[in-house]
């Protein structure tokens, strides 16, 4: 039953993809030469005018270009011409660094806040105000104080990924089933051992859900941040290719951003499953 459902769903997915590619192809194919014009003028106007070719690349153009990129993902021809692999690696490294720093701060801090009603109440107004701030709003302040664009991007990632993790850790720690805590209490388990043997495993699914939300937000924000700071990264690549009017490359970048985002999410989803135990 479930395998046949999966099979049918897969089939529908393929049909939808084929339909999408087909429509895309039909919508962007050449309509033949429309006007005759002087060669200089034609050169200025580009292929759109001379061959009736759509400015929007078709799936075949994108496929061919993607193949080219996949063959040489790591070439480096100077600041404005690097392989997509290198650009993605820059972005992933920034996200990874900012995210890990956020994990190192959010989880211990969340533990403290979750275990202490006093801290929880005292820090609540700060968290409530800081949380809704768009991470990009921090960018000028970061650039001004840190003075390094790459580190500023990492800072922005840090700021945007800290809140879901912090709030989920606080919630997970504060809402550990009372009877599990009571088990530890009747066994005279000390505070530190209790934190690691009862509270951490009990709160782990909630904490990891927060981490999963965070990685998604971080990946959303890095593209925008790199468009702002420039230099390297997939966000910068998108902006650079837009300036080059290479829509094909922009489409490829969009596709890759989606794929990498999905992979990051799946990795965290797998970790979440690993620490979740039904009762």
């Amino acid at each position: 039953m479930s395998t046949s459902l999966r099979l049918r769903a897969g089939l529908v997915s393929i049909v939808l993809l084929a339909a999408f590619l087909g429509i895309w192809h039909l919508a962007t194919r050449s309509t033949g030469t429309t006007t005759t014009m002087s060669p200089e003028y034609a050169k200025l106007m580009g292929l759109t005018a001379t061959q009736g070719k759509s400015a929007m690349p078709g799936p075949l153009d994108v496929g061919a270009k993607l193949w080219e990129h996949l063959k040489r993902p790591f070439y480096d021809n100077g600041p404005n011409d690097k392989g997509l692999g290198i650009q993605l690696a820059y972005s992933i490294a920034r996200v990874g660094t900012g995210y890990l720093l956020a994990v190192l701060v959010a989880i211990p801090l969340g533990f403290l806040i979750g275990m202490s009603p006093l801290l929880s109440k005292a820090l609540d107004p700060f968290i409530q105000v800081l949380k809704p701030i768009s991470p990009l709003a921090w960018m000028p302040l970061a650039l001004y104080t840190i003075k390094d664009s790459s580190v500023s991007a990492i800072f922005v990632i840090f700021i945007c990924s800290i809140w879901p993790m912090l709030l989920n850790t606080v919630f997970g720690v504060a809402s550990v089933r009372k009877e599990w805590v009571n088990v530890a209490r009747t066994l005279e388990v000390g505070t530190v051992r209790r934190a690691f043997t009862v509270i951490l495993p009990a709160a782990a699914p909630t904490i990891l859900t927060g981490m999963r939300i965070s990685i998604g937000i971080a990946w959303l924000v890095i593209v925008a941040a790199e468009m702002l700071v420039g230099g390297t990264g997939i966000g910068y690549f998108v902006w650079n290719e837009w300036n080059n009017l290479s829509i094909t490359n922009v489409i490829i970048a969009i596709l890759l951003i989606g794929v990498v985002g999905m992979l990051l999410d799946q990795i965290l989803a797998r970790f979440t499953r690993m620490v979740t135990f039904p009762e």
Partner: protein, 310 residues
């Protein structure tokens, strides 16, 4: 009453509600148990049974009064007092062996893994879970989960066991076997046990003494009923004993009517000297045991039944 292993001395529990009003769950509650005794507490929902148990366990502190165990006032929880929780409270990320080992290694911090494992295994075997050591709680039935809870409590060789309606969530068949096992283990090891139950037959089968609590708020310990059934009683032929119905009816009568009216009917009730009730032989009836009270005698429809069974 000579050896007071556990002595609850004038405890009270109050909660401050909204608008400064305080609810008194109970106050001036006195209760004592001898070493090796099995006591059951019966009373309606919300009368404060769990609160008493939590105070005994040290999970909760009384607003007033003290609890003395083995000559010492308790402060907080202790490995001497094991708790079997109603909802079994197993840690779902640990296996059966892991759950029991957690308790063992908490008691004997210096033991190495092998020793902890061997000790835990003994108690897993004792409750009949051999072969399920590596299962997680989600893979166990309700009865098996509660067995793990019992193994965990016993594994730390406590001085007493506290059980809050441990079998109420189980089906009748499983409940029966677990009652047998708890009784066997307690008799073998001479455990002192304090159990809350809703099941009158469970109390009659397991308890040496049955504490009857009136309804809350302001619940009091009305009487302590001594179980007249012989120590070698069996669960299945419990009802054949000539005193069974007298005892059962006495408890049910209390639950149905007297638990509500007790305070009004008994203004001279002394909470420090709760009457110890011996349920008499059916031909003598309870009324002749304490003070004669013919009205109560008349309200015992069950009295005619023992004569038919014996």
């Amino acid at each position: 009453m000579t050896d007071k292993f556990i002595s609850i001395e004038g405890i009270a529990k109050r909660y401050s509600g909204a608008g400064g009003a305080t609810t008194t769950v109970f106050e001036n509650l006195w209760l004592s148990m001898a070493r090796g005794e099995f006591a059951c507490v019966i009373g309606h929902s919300g009368c404060g049974k769990t609160t008493v148990l939590n105070i005994l366990a040290g999970l909760d502190a009384p607003s007033e009064g003290a609890v003395i165990v083995d000559g010492q006032a308790i402060s907080g929880t202790s490995l001497d007092r094991a708790v079997i929780f109603q909802s079994h409270a197993l840690l779902p990320w640990r296996t059966v062996l892991g759950n029991v080992s957690y308790a063992v290694s908490s008691k004997w911090r210096s033991w190495d893994r092998a020793k902890v494992k061997a000790h835990a295994q003994t108690f897993i075997d004792l409750v009949g879970l051999t072969g399920s050591e590596h299962k997680r709680p989600s893979e166990l039935s309700g009865g098996m989960k509660q067995r793990v809870g019992i193994a965990r409590a016993l594994s730390i060789t406590p001085k007493m066991m506290l059980m809050d309606e441990p079998f109420s969530a189980l089906d009748a068949l499983t409940r029966g076997t677990l009652q047998d096992e708890v009784r066997r283990i307690c008799l073998e090891t001479g455990q002192t046990a304090f159990m809350i139950t809703h099941d009158v037959d469970e109390a009659i089968y397991l308890a040496d003494k049955i504490f009857l609590m009136t309804n809350g708020p302001g619940a009091v310990l009305a009487e302590v009923v001594e179980n007249p059934l012989p120590r070698d009683r069996g669960r299945t032929d419990l009802h054949r004993h000539p005193l069974y119905y007298a005892l059962r009816n006495h408890i049910i009568d209390f639950l149905v009517t007297r638990s509500k009216t007790f305070a009004a009917e008994t203004p001279d009730h002394d909470p420090r000297n709760v009457p110890l009730v011996h349920v008499g032989k059916p031909e003598l009836t309870i009324a002749s045991d304490a003070k004669p009270e013919p009205s109560r005698e008349a309200s015992w429809p069950g009295l005619s039944r023992p004569s038919t069974s014996s």
